[in-house]
């Protein structure tokens, strides 16, 4: 990715693509997400579901923006390929459903991370939603709506640089060997089922076993144990995060 692209990606735009001065909704969204003065806005709802999203298509953010126009109290802060959506939501357990409903109305290729909180907590809520969608993308999961609960260990690793640095160092020798990387990806996609992974790769089961043993030798993580599966999975995610580029608008 070039530098110019990067800058245009992260430049915030108004609620409808092309609007030049920031709309009041954008200002309110930014104020809420950064924890700036919100006491002066007593009409705002007490709690929000916050979704951080990434769209595969250039029109994705505009699509989200047009859907939000009909929703009372909805706020957003968008960049061309992603952004934040704030939906009024009084109780935490409804947050996922409200965002899934929104997601079902837009086309394929949108990844969303959701979190919920009271107005005063929204800076933390935003960070959680952003971390959730960030690790979802890094771990190459299907498009959809994700909550912290779905990606607990990946978010914990992302938040602890000493841990993610360890994992990156651990997995590097595997990433450097395309055959091993391919075998590991297939093995993880098959939830640790070796027969399934061998079929997927069109290789013999013993060839796969040989590659998994090589992975164990290089990383110290045992692919046949549940902890080893989680460790290798988290390590690939941590490695992908190193290369990730920003898609959320700056605050």
């Amino acid at each position: 990715m070039t530098c110019t692209e990067d800058m245009s990606m992260s430049r915030p735009i108004g609620i409808s693509a092309g609007a030049k001065p920031p709309l009041p909704e954008t200002t309110a969204a930014r104020a809420l997400l950064t924890g700036a003065e919100v006491a002066s806005a007593p009409d705002l709802p007490p709690a929000y579901a916050v979704a951080a999203f990434r769209s595969a298509t250039p029109s994705g953010a505009a699509e989200v923006a047009s859907l939000l126009r009909t929703r009372a109290g909805a706020l957003s802060l968008l960049s061309p390929r992603g952004g934040y959506v704030l939906l009024p939501c009084p109780v935490s357990r409804h947050a996922g459903d409200i965002v899934r409903d929104l997601h079902s109305r837009i086309g394929d290729g949108t990844w969303m991370g959701v979190s919920w909180g009271r107005r005063a907590d929204l800076p933390h809520v935003r960070a959680t939603a952003a971390d959730v969608v960030t690790v979802v993308l890094a771990s190459a999961r299907d498009d959809g709506v994700y909550e912290l609960r779905d990606v607990l260990t990946d978010v914990a690793v992302l938040r602890q640089p000493s841990v993610s640095a360890r994992l990156v160092r651990m997995i590097q020798p595997v990433v450097d060997r395309p055959q091993l990387l391919e075998a590991l990806r297939a093995f993880l996609d098959e939830d640790g089922n070796r027969a399934g992974a061998a079929r997927r790769l069109l290789i013999h089961r013993s060839t796969l076993d040989y590659r998994l043993r090589a992975i164990e030798r290089l990383t110290g993580a045992r692919p046949t144990s549940p902890l080893g599966v989680l460790t290798l999975d988290a390590a690939l995610t941590a490695h992908a995060l190193v290369l990730a580029h920003p898609f959320l608008p700056p605050l």
Binding site: L148, L152, T153, V163, D191, P226, L227
Partner: protein, 335 residues
């Protein structure tokens, strides 16, 4: 101890008097040719040299004091023709051992000062020769061994692997610093663990020279974590408890993990089943054998776990998350 180091140098007269007092029995035994006098002379002289190393005296003043004391004691013990050789020999032994103990002790004192500086993240002199090196920091919890037992065990085991052992467990932060990569340090810790009595936990972390304070924090957190998780005594590094470590350090995640397993905790049978499955590496047939239950019973219980938590124990990734959640929430409830 370093803390008792006096601020002023020892007066030459005091040094002579002290040495004469302590060495008199050594010379007397040599003059009477008491069996085993040589071994005793070596050990007493080494100890004296070691003790003197912590005092602010120079090598030349020690050499001249030893010469004076040798003359005085040789005159004091009645030298007969038959024992003149022993008395001459004891003088040589004493001088050599006191001086070598003195040098070794001074070296250790310098090492200690260097280790304290590195552990505290202070800059160290360029001639210390540590630029670009990798160190491992070790924190120790030993029930039943004193800090000096631990240090001695490290010095005994380090032997030829470690050219010099830097910190000490009695240092200000309670850490041990070794100029070794983590894998080698872990092997050393395993040997030390077997030499010590009682329950011993050792936590190890490697860092380049400028980041040693980070390693100190990591091993402290790690030691606190493995003991609070109820892990067996042993040698640990962060990779052994990676997810527990990351989760505990991230309050939102540990809170959510506790919420995930909260419905399970009311049902000890399900917790026991999950624990057995984790110990069997997710192998249901093996877990069934260990639990003395029927295959269909475990399937039913695992189905219940999935209903209660939303995580499927037959998926290795979910099983590892459940295991982390049980560990982290169990830790929270014991604290």
């Amino acid at each position: 101890m370093n803390s008792s180091t006096p601020d002023c140098a020892v007066a030459p007269g005091d040094l002579v008097a002290q040495l004469r007092e302590e060495l008199r029995p050594v010379y007397r035994e040599a003059a009477q040719n008491v069996p085993g006098w040589e071994e005793r002379a070596v050990s007493i002289a080494t100890r004296i040299g070691d003790q003197l190393a912590s005092l602010r005296i120079t090598r030349s003043s020690l050499v001249s004091a030893l010469r004076t004391v040798d003359r005085l004691l040789t005159q004091a013990v009645a030298v007969s023709v038959g024992t003149a050789l022993q008395v001459a020999a004891v003088g040589t032994i004493v001088a050599m051992e006191v001086l070598s103990g003195f040098h070794e002790g001074q070296g250790m004192r310098d090492e200690r000062a260097l280790a304290e500086a590195l552990l505290a993240g202070r800059s160290v002199p360029a001639d210390a020769g540590v630029a670009g090196s990798v160190f491992s920091v070790i924190s120790v919890r030993a029930n039943g061994s004193s800090p000096s037992d631990v240090e001695n065990a490290f010095r005994a085991q380090a032997g030829e692997v470690v050219p010099s052992l830097f910190g000490t467990v009695s240092s200000a932060t309670g850490h041990l610093l070794v100029p070794l990569e983590e894998d080698v340090a872990v092997a050393l810790c395993e040997r030390v663990r077997h030499e010590l009595f009682g329950s011993v936990w050792l936590c190890v972390s490697e860092r380049p020279v400028g980041e040693i304070p980070l390693a100190c924090k990591e091993v402290d957190d790690l030691l606190e974590l493995v003991t609070s998780l109820g892990r067996a005594p042993g040698v640990y590094r962060i990779t052994d408890v990676l997810f527990e470590y990351a989760a505990v350090a991230t309050p939102e995640v540990s809170a959510e993990l506790s919420r995930v397993v909260a419905p399970l905790l009311a049902n000890p049978v399900l917790v026991e089943t999950l624990t057995a499955l984790v110990e069997a590496d997710g192998n249901r047939a093996l877990a069934v054998k260990r639990l003395f239950i029927h295959r269909s019973t475990i399937d039913y219980r695992l189905w219940q776990v999935e209903q209660l938590t939303g995580l499927s124990p037959v998926n290795p990734r979910d099983l590892a998350v459940l295991s982390t959640a049980l560990a982290v929430s169990g830790r929270a409830s014991t604290n």
